[in-house]
């Protein structure tokens, strides 16, 4: 009570509802305006890939940042979502959105099954088990040629059916802009849902488990159930990203879901700021666009990528969020004192 300056905000800051609403509004505006500014095919493609990667990073962050489960196999759920939905469409003629739901559900279930192991395992054991899971899924996609056509891949996957209301075509997803709006809107929705979730008592429960599982158990929290739940949600979100990826790119090869992709997604979460939702969004955007901007230096661009990841961990482990807070504090201290 003595000095208001000592009452520092907690690390997990609750932003006031008004500024949060303004933030949402700005994000929605950015989504609407971006494809209008970047009006060539190259940048519109990049924007959609950004949105897909944001979705992947959000899913992993929910597992890793909010329940502390070290998942090194996120690429597996991404791949499962992509292949299950595409195979349902191509082999069984199931309509896109039906296949989408099935792909998401399948990836989510796979995540829950894997995390049933996680309940007994901690830290590095889970890391290796999930890595192993990703290797197995990749090898199955590569070797089950009668189903997935292996390294030859599946070609000519069509985009989602056009949105038609009252006989009028509202959005034809052959159009890059329309596709971007679809993925971005879905990603925005996932962000809102996850944001509500982590602010609810469920979020507090998950954080308690991450910080100290034994203490959480002593408060009557069933850590196992919540960890399986979080893993399922994160994996399902990755599944959704996979469905969008397949219909966006139009071709599906197992190499897109190699273990290196899981490390990519992990890098997005870490560089952005693990354990916050906004951090991974910017981490994903930065790490999707950075290699594109560095295309001029050829093979060395991934060297820069690796170096950036290492340096962030060494010197700024809180990622972009930590950097932003640091700048913000500096700015506030520098301003006139009340």
């Amino acid at each position: 009570m003595s000095d208001p300056a000592l009452a520092q905000p907690l690390p997990h800051r609750q932003s006031p509802p008004l500024s949060r609403r303004v933030g949402y509004l700005l994000a929605a505006l950015a989504i609407i305006i971006l494809p209008l500014i970047f009006n060539d095919t190259y940048w519109r493609t990049n924007l959609t890939i950004c949105a897909i990667n944001v979705l992947l990073a959000l899913g992993l962050d929910f597992i890793l940042g909010y329940t502390g489960q070290l998942n090194l196999g996120h690429s597996a759920f991404y791949g499962l979502g992509a292949y299950v939905s595409t195979l349902l469409i191509v082999k069984f003629g199931i309509p896109f959105w039906g296949a989408f739901v099935a792909g998401v559900a399948f990836a989510g279930m796979a995540g829950m099954v894997l995390s049933l192991f996680a309940v007994r395992l901690r830290g590095h054991y889970l890391a290796i088990a999930s890595l192993g899971f990703a290797v197995i899924i990749y090898q199955i996609l590569l070797n089950w040629i009668s189903l997935t056509q292996g390294p030859l891949g599946i070609y000519g996957i069509s985009p989602p059916p056009a949105l038609i209301i009252g006989g009028r075509v509202i959005a034809d997803f052959h159009n890059l802009t329309a596709f971007f709006y679809l993925v971005a809107a879905f990603t925005f929705l996932v962000y809102l849902l996850l944001n509500q979730l982590v602010r609810s008592p469920i979020g507090e429960t998950l954080t308690a488990i991450r910080e100290d599982e034994i203490s959480a158990a002593s408060l009557g929290i069933n850590a196992a159930v919540w960890k399986v739940f979080a893993f399922g949600v994160g994996a399902a979100v990755a599944g959704a990203a996979g469905c969008f990826y397949a219909s966006f790119v139009g071709t599906l090869v197992p190499d897109a879901f190699f273990v290196a992709e899981a490390f990519n997604i992990l890098a997005m979460v870490i560089v952005g700021g693990m354990g916050t939702l906004i951090g991974p969004v910017f981490g994903a955007i930065l790490l999707t666009l950075l290699p594109e901007m560095l295309r001029g230096i050829g093979d060395l661009r991934l060297v820069v990528y690796g170096a950036a990841l290492t340096l962030v961990v060494l010197f700024m482990p809180g990622g972009l969020v930590q950097a932003a807070r640091f700048v913000h504090e500096k700015f506030r201290r520098g301003g006139p004192q009340p």
Binding site: H124, I136, A267, V303, G306, L314
Partner: protein, 294 residues
Amino acid sequence: MTTTIVLQQAINGIVLGSLYVLVALGLTLIYGVLVQINFAHADFVTLGAFAAYFFMHLIGAGYFLSIGVALVLGAALGWLINASIFTPLRRKGNELLPLIATIGVSVMMQNLMLAWFGPIPYAFETPYSSQVIRFAGIFVSWQNVIIIAVSSLTIALLYAFMKFTFLGKALRAVSQDRETAGLMGINPNQLIMLTFVIASALAGMAGAMLAPVLVLTPFAGTSVIVKAFAIVIIGGFGNVEGTILAGLIVGLIESYTTQYLNPGLIDIVVFALLLLMLAIKPTGLISERREENV
């Protein structure tokens, strides 16, 4: 006829297995003292292989000398990665950060090698690859004899070092309880450094011997390390005997899967075994009791 095939594949499996053991032992030793995973371990294997290749082909040195060069290079890299990443991050006490930092180092090293050496596989021939001993219908190349001899000798020396020397005992003490070992006058930091150097030297050396067996590209180490992780868990994290046993088992699985099923299924079989192991006995084949502080 069939017994010959079974025996032949047993030898191939043991050759592969003993190399996997060398790589996995490094991981398990580091895990023992630090409870940390070094992802860049894979690239020490690859760099060891390339170092031996260039030392032999450009300088014209002998194979054994090249193995020695790979070993020294591995040791130097291990020292570097401990000093630059694990030591500064240890103070932060986070189990995740060093792992991610080494993933970054690994991406960096692989792509540096890619820029340098290109994506086309190198053919690593040693003078011993073509000399074959024939015995009761089984073929064993001198290369394989050398691999088995050198790796058994190395493993035996390491085992003796851990069991009978003062430093080895100190190392085991640190891996059992770092703080108490510190109170007994052992400097944990020096021993952690020593562990890193030994572990990475083993990786570099294994690389020089794996090179003729592998498809030598900048990403060669990744396929080995993924199996080494599986071996470390199947054997029991931090357990030397378990790692040796599991390494040989995985080598045999690989050769028999190639013979009787399909080479594409190797990783699936190995990791199915890993997941099965985690489901039944997560502490590994030979479990070590580890107390956890609450």
